[in-house]
Symmetry: C2
Subunit: 163 residues, 2 copies
DNA sequence: CTGAACATTCAGTCTTGACTGAACGTACTA
DNA sequence: TAGTACGTTCAGTCAAGACTGAATGTTCAG
């Protein structure tokens, strides 16, 4: 029930935090995601701050940032409770894929624009096109996974009951 | 012929640099990749440093780092020339995909390990499994693209016979 | 051996951004 | 009205790490 982490969970949270840190999020933000991933109920700012041992200010800032990026959701509070409760977004992985897709799209566009530059040697423009094609192909695959994340590949799709 | 960049190329290089900066590389490293992508011949450390207006020390460090990550290649120098010449790796996008794949694999493993933790509520473990499945599916798609980057297209997921 | 032409290393500087904690704003309650 | 319980903001501190440039290898030509 509470939000206290045992050592194994602590490690998990830290692990996720580090992964996200390499992806342009702050360490704290990453740990928030990891923490909420392990919770079966919404958690308030204070609970998160206590569990992660960071200041409430950090959690406030990062939680809103994560929400804006679609990785977290704010749940309606019980009547008479003014606290904000956060949950990890049910489709968090899809949100991540969507970000990646946009990134790839931007990269491909930049490469395409470079092809059109004057005085581009043949060898360079063919390389640019090749790179661009690959990124576009990846972007297309991501789109499909985004559209139908459950059906992807050959995995079994267990459809769990929504609590 | 030389390695001087016009404004449009400058912008391209900067753009690529910023993209990489968000991915755990230094700004200079990103700009090196961008710069070499536009070159039709191998470039020496000095040429790179001059074109990007950074110290030779930076270029030396970052170029070797990029080489270790498979994003750059060192080409054999002409006889009697002791300089190091770098080119962007012909399969740079594939190297990038491979890194992503490994990252996803690590993430999926972490999620799987968390499922096995004691006292994991049902709701949590089913979420962990769901997230894990998605990441695994993406990893599989990446594997296919890595195996046959040129052929990537449309909806097809069937691997053409490759000996 | 000496000098030239490289690449590499590393101590030092500087920038960036994370994080804190206290002050502040806000909304509800009694 | 005052009081309480929140969330938000922001100036300040701090640490990580990027970048520099001079010193230090290293290799080759003569």
């Amino acid at each position: 029930m509470s939000a206290i982490l045992d050592p194994a969970q602590e490690r998990f949270v830290e692990h996720i935090g580090l992964l996200w840190e390499g992806q342009g999020l702050s360490r704290v933000a990453g740990r928030i995601v990891g923490f909420l991933t392990l919770q079966d109920a919404p958690r308030s700012l204070d609970e998160i701050a206590t569990a992660l041992n960071v200041s409430k200010g950090s959690v406030s800032t990062d939680a809103r940032l994560l929400q804006a990026r679609g990785l977290l959701e704010r749940t309606p509070a019980p009547a008479g409770d003014r606290r904000d409760y956060y949950v990890v977004a049910p489709d968090l992985p899809v949100a991540v894929l969507e970000e990646r897709r946009r990134e790839l799209h931007g990269l491909a566009s930049a490469l395409e624009a470079a092809v059109a530059l004057p005085d581009t040697p043949k060898a360079v423009s063919s390389r640019l096109k090749r790179f661009c094609d690959i990124y576009r192909a990846v972007a297309r695959q991501l789109e499909q996974l985004i559209a139908a994340p459950a059906k992807a590949g050959g995995t079994r799709t267990t459809t769990p009951r929504t609590p």
